[in-house]
Structure formats: C-alpha cells, structure tokens
Subunit: 427 residues, 2 copies
C-alpha cells in the first residue's frame, strides 16, 4: 500500500547542533576548519563524536587503522547491519562541511529513526553502525581513503601504518598518539550509505538538491621526482644549470596540455610541490610533484598516463634534470549500487526534492566500501561548487534535505528487513 | 727598491685551524653546514668568533643590525683604518667555505701581520677591523647583503628590522634573541678587502688560483604573487580552474626563455616558490615566486625586467590567475676599485699564483661596501665551481693562497701608510 503523506524528516535541530559543535574543532575563524588526519584538532573532533556515541548508548569500536565505529544493537545479533558514515578529517585550511556533515548526518539519521520507532512503540528491524573513517582526505598522509580502503581490504594495513607526513611522522605513531590504535574488528555491514557536499556547480545550476552518484571516476595519483643540481643562482652559467623547478614547470605544463587534449574527459593537477632547498638564490636541486589524473573511463586514464610517461624523457632533457615517477596509486573507475541509486531518488522525490544523477570525480569512502558491499554516496549542493576551501557552504535547508533523504533511505531499508531489492520495490 | 724575495705568507696552520673550528657550527655531517642568519647555529659560530677576537685583544663592536666587528688599535687613533671581512651565515644545506673562509682569513691575515711586525720589532702603520656581516645570504630574511647594506647606508635599518622569515619571525626580534642587537657604531674604514670562494668553473678551467673581481653584475630580485582559487582537484572542471601552480609554471618557463634570448648576458632563476595550501588534492590558490634577473650591463637588466612585466598579463590570462610583482629589489652593476685590483694581482704574482680577472655575478658584502669606500673582493677557486651546496670544496693549498694574497695586500697598504696610490706604486 502506497503512503501518500510526506515522510517524517530528520531531526533538523539535532543535525544543526551537531554541525555547529563539530565545526569548532580546528576552526580557522574564517568559516573553515584546519583538521588534517591525526592532528590534535582532528583527535579532539573525534573524541567529541565518540562521547556523543557513547552517551547515546552506542558501543564504540576502534580498529587498528584508527577507524572509529559506533554500533547500536536494535534488533538482535542476527539482524542485518546497515552502515552510514563519512570522515572528520579535513584539508588544511579546508571547509567545515566536507566529511563532517556526512558523519553527523549519519548519527542524526539513526537517532531520528530510533526516536520515531520508539514513539510508535516499535523497534528497528536492523542494527546500525556509524563510521568515522580515518584519513579520507590524504592531505597529510597519502594515500587518501586510507581507513576505508584498509577496512575494505584494498590497502595493506602495514603499508598504511608506515606512511609518513612531510615531517617524517608515521601513521602508526600518530594513531597511538591520538589514542586510536584500536584492537577491535568492526563487522562487515550489509550495505553502506553516505551523504556528502558536492564540489561541482552543475547541481546548483540545475536546481537539484539531491544527487545520487552513479559512477566514480578513476584516478592515477603520481609522485614525480625531479632531480637537478643545487647551485648558486648568480654565477652558475645558464647552460650548466640543472634546475629542478624549471623541470617541474615543464611537467606542470604538460599535464595541463593533456587535459586540454582530452577535453572534459580528463582532469589533471599538481596540487603539491615540495622544493629543496627552496631558497631565493639557490638553483633548486630537487622538486617532488604530487600529480593527479582523473577520468570516468579507464581507457582515458591509461592513455593520459602513457602520454605523460612518454613525454618525461623529453622534458628531462630540455631542463637537463632527471624526472622519475617514484610512486603510483591507481583507483579504478566503477559504479555504485543501482538499487541504492533508485532508493535515493525515491526518497528525495517523496520529500519533493529535485534530483539529478552525477558522477563523482572526488574520491569518497563509499568508493572503497563499494568494493565489498552495496554502497552509495549522494550529494547536496555546495554554493558555487566550492569545496576544500574555508568558504565552502551548504545552507541549513540543504543539510536538512540530505539528512531527510538519508533517514528515509535507511527507514525503507529497515522496513524491508534489510533487503535492498524489497526496499526498492517499495513494499 | 723592489723586493725580489717571495713574501712571507699567512700563518696557514692558524687559518686551517680557524676553518676547522668554524665548520663545526651547523655541521650537516656531509661536509656542509646549515647556518642561515640568526639561527642558533649561526649565533654559536659568531659567539665562537667573537671569543677569538676578544682573546686576541680586539675590541668587539656590535651595531644595531647585528654586524660584529673586531677592532685592533695598532697605530693610534689618527692612523688609517683597513677593514677586512665576510660573513658567517650560510645557505640552508649550504657549504662550509662560502663566507666563513673570508671571515677567518681576515683574522688570520691581520694576526699574521701583527706577529711578523712584532718579530721585526715594528708596529703596523694602520689600524684594522675585522667584519662579520649579518645575513649576507638572504636565505632566511630578504634582502641579502643586509648587514653590509645597512652599514653602507644603502638599506634602511628599520626596514631591515621589520623583515620576516617564512614563519613570521622578525629580524629585530631575532637580533635580540641572538644577542647581537648592539648599540655600537663602527668607524668607516679607508678601504675594504674580502676573499671568497668562486662559484664559476672558469677559474678552475683556466688554472688561475687568484681572481680579482673587476665588475659586479646588477640584479633585479622580484617577488611575484600568483593568485588563483583554491578548489578540489577532482570535480572542479578544468575550464573553471584558476590554478596558481600552473600560473607559476608559466612564469618559470618565461624567465628561462628570456635568459635563452639574451645568451650569456643574463641569468634568471626562481629559487624559491611558496605554494598554498600545497596539498595533493587541492588546486593551489596561491604561489609566491622569488625570481632573480642578473646581468653585467644595466641595459640588459632593464630590457629583461620590462619583457617579463610585459608578458605577465598574457601568462595570467592563459592560466586564468592574477600575477603581480609585489616587491622589487634592484642592485646596480658596478666596478671595484682598480687600485685594489692591481694590488691583488701584484700580490698574487709575488707568490707565483696565476691570476685571471672575473666579474662577480653573486652578491658580496664588498659590493655594498664599494658604495662608500674603495673595496675589492677576490676569489680562490671552488672545485667544479660548486657553491651553495654541501659539497663545495676548496683545497687547503688554495685557502692558503687566498690568505697569502690577502695578507700581502694588507702588508703593502700598511707599508704605504694606508695610501692605495702609494701601495700600487710599490714603494
């Protein structure tokens, strides 16, 4: 029997209160937060969230890559398990919505579900787990999606433990320092749901308020080392210079050319460049570039990486430097669970929120989770498509809309006894 | 009456001992030192040198830009004053000879002169002052030649006091912290002599062991700000990116093109680039470039700077960023005192050291001093022309040769009662 009433929405006050509280950690005073993984501010945000979970009766589990889980048993040990989550780490000088919104919306959704069930004298049919993934951003430690990738078996835990930040501090030691080197094993859920803000202005332009992601773009993340020779910027003759920054500039330009050739089917960037010794009157001896290639089609990505590799020897010769790719991380392209996409659209439509389908080009923890369970991430708009910046902003109304849809998806799955097929059927 | 005997040389053991002692401060373990201005290691090196001066009877004066002077009164208050010196600060990860050699050779030369005079029952006819200039390198605080430029009246003291390093620490505070915010005024000398290692392989190739510098190249040092828009490297469409690192790469490449056009009459570089936020998956919002143009002829320098300025709007348009020159420092080209050049060659020839004349492209404290008194800097070779790098190296024999020539120049000036004209006349 169809229900023509508008579904009951999320506890918007609770969601708003969570957002305000979490935004205080690493607050930069200009609307943004600076909360890279395993910094003091990140640890403080997680401790606050952990206290919220415990105060609400969730059992907290911490695994050995620092993922924090809040588990609530509503329906007994045999019941299906639904996981919701995102991440509390941010980019340096980043925004307050990216990641944090998904975590607090997850808790607010499950809390609203429980409260509504309780008012009706019922119990949910599923158990729930809220995930706060460790190091989604990959700003301080690479690779990104670290916690969710280890959880999903896509990344070796010991390798992740050994990653260093630019000051040589290791993930392993920082996990211990932040009190999140746990010994728990979180159970594998039956599905995974995430809500996130979207850094593409298409959504805003089209008027959509909810956008399920259909595909995720693949990425090749390359660390490129340019080796020159450190020398004085004065007397050293130009013909004898082996200038690592000149070599690096040629690589930056080449990457941009590749994106131009591929039109909108390839995104390229160099977001970080470490120059040594980086002193005004020394010809730089070394530069390390963190380059990214992203594309929706595996063929495009392969073509672009091959083209780049092919051109490096010429660029090296032009600048008389060495250019070498010293690390590569590939994240394959793929698709989210189509039933969860439908369910997201059904839920949004029930509230009257316009939807559109999008690809996600950014990585999300849901991309890692999709390797092992039916998963989805869906988006609410960020004003002007701004993300990874202090002034990223999503209105309270849109935050509530995302929470409503997350809640309604969970409710439909719960009413279907955890079966996605039945949930989509709407029975 | 000509003296056909080989002149008595410098106390090579004393010079060598000084070199070994000073090389311990900021020692990096690979032959180099890391001793930028007003760091703890720089302060320690200067304290060691100050103790050497005091133990040998020099009166130590410290002025309000942190220059340290050792003054020895040999001939009464009316006698001419000869100044010798260089600097104890180094580049980060720099070499141990650049600067430090000139300071310790100055002290060793005057000490040898005094000892020789004493053995002959004579007193020198001039007074001497050894200068350890503050912040020649300009690695941590810009501009370079800071202490000598303030001394020579070329740079405003308050402006210099207000300069900040990349962590926002001010010269003024760091002078106080290092105990070199002095209240003394050093007297203006009648001439200034300096010996330095040379970062040009020409000397070594030609077999010259002593090279007086004739001209100093002019320099334009520009700080160029590239302003883009910080955004996510994933979803942001390429057409909407305002990538500061791409803009910076275009500037780097353009500077290199200018040098190519001007052949060997122009040197260009970007030694330092500060990128913000410099995170792998953020399109950089800002980059600041420390660019240098150097040329022996003022016209070349003017042409190059004008060409660069002319091209910046096009480069800005190509990368859709703002590009602005936010600070410029000009150091005019010029010539050292021709009498001191002759005297240097005469002294070298007396010892049988082959000479050649060079331009100096690097800045030296003697360039600043030449604005107010007859000055010279002359060079000994650095192996392979390496300078500003841990493996810069000058053999003990060449260090001694430079010391011999410095001593002999001083001796000839002293015998001529401080008159350069008479000293060159050889009477």
């Amino acid at each position: 029997m169809m229900d023509y009433r508008k579904p009951e929405g999320i506890d918007a006050q609770l969601l708003q209160s969570f957002m305000e509280q979490v935004s205080a950690f690493g607050c930069t005073g200009d609307g943004g937060v600076d909360r890279p993984a395993l910094t003091d501010d990140h640890a403080a945000a997680r401790n606050w969230f952990r206290a919220e979970l415990e105060n609400r009766g969730y059992r907290v589990l911490i695994d050995d890559i620092g993922n924090v889980f809040g588990h609530i048993d509503c329906a007994g040990p045999e019941a299906p398990l639904v996981m919701l989550g995102s991440h509390l780490d941010s980019q340096p000088k980043g925004g307050r919505f990216d990641g944090a919104y998904g975590v607090v919306a997850a808790l607010a959704a499950v809390e609203t579900l429980r409260a509504q069930a309780s008012r009706q004298g019922e119990m949910p049919a599923c158990n729930y787990i809220i995930a706060d993934w460790m190091n989604e951003e990959g700003a301080r430690f690479q690779p990104s999606l670290m916690g969710s990738s280890v959880f999903a078996g896509l990344l070796d835990r010991d390798f992740a433990h050994g990653r260093c930040d630019r000051d040589g501090r290791r993930v392993r030691d920082e996990l211990t320092r932040c009190g999140v080197m746990g010994g728990d094993t979180a159970p594998r859920p039956d599905c995974y749901l995430e809500v996130h803000i979207e850094g593409d202005s298409k959504m805003e332009k089209s008027g959509a308020r909810i956008a399920p992601f259909i595909r995720f773009w693949g990425a090749a993340k390359l660390r490129i080392e340019v080796t020159g020779e450190q020398n004085h910027t004065g007397p050293t003759p130009m013909s004898e210079r082996r200038d690592a920054v000149f070599g690096a500039a040629l690589v930056v330009t080449r990457l941009r050319e590749l994106a131009g050739t591929a039109k909108d089917t390839l995104h390229t960037s160099v977001g970080r460049m470490d120059i040594s010794p980086n002193s005004p009157n020394i010809v730089p001896g070394r530069a390390e570039l963190f380059a990214e290639l992203r594309a929706p089609e595996p063929e495009t990505l392969e073509w672009a990486e091959a083209e780049l590799r092919h051109s490096l020897p010429q660029l090296a010769q032009k600048a008389d430097v060495g250019i070498e790719i010293i690390a590569v991380e590939h994240r394959p392209a793929g698709r989210f669970d189509s039933r969860l996409v439908s369910l997201c659209e059904t839920a949004a439509t029930a509230f009257g929120y316009p939807t559109m389908r999008l690809d996600t080009i950014a990585g999300h923890d849901a991309v890692a989770l999709s390797a092992i369970v039916p998963s989805i991430v869906f988006a609410v708009p960020s004003v002007n498509g701004v993300i990874h910046r202090h002034d990223e902003y999503t209105s309270p109304e849109d935050l509530t809309a995302g929470g409503d849809v997350l809640l309604d998806m969970v409710r439909r799955i719960d009413r279907a006894g955890g079966s996605l097929d039945k949930a989509v059927g709407g029975t």
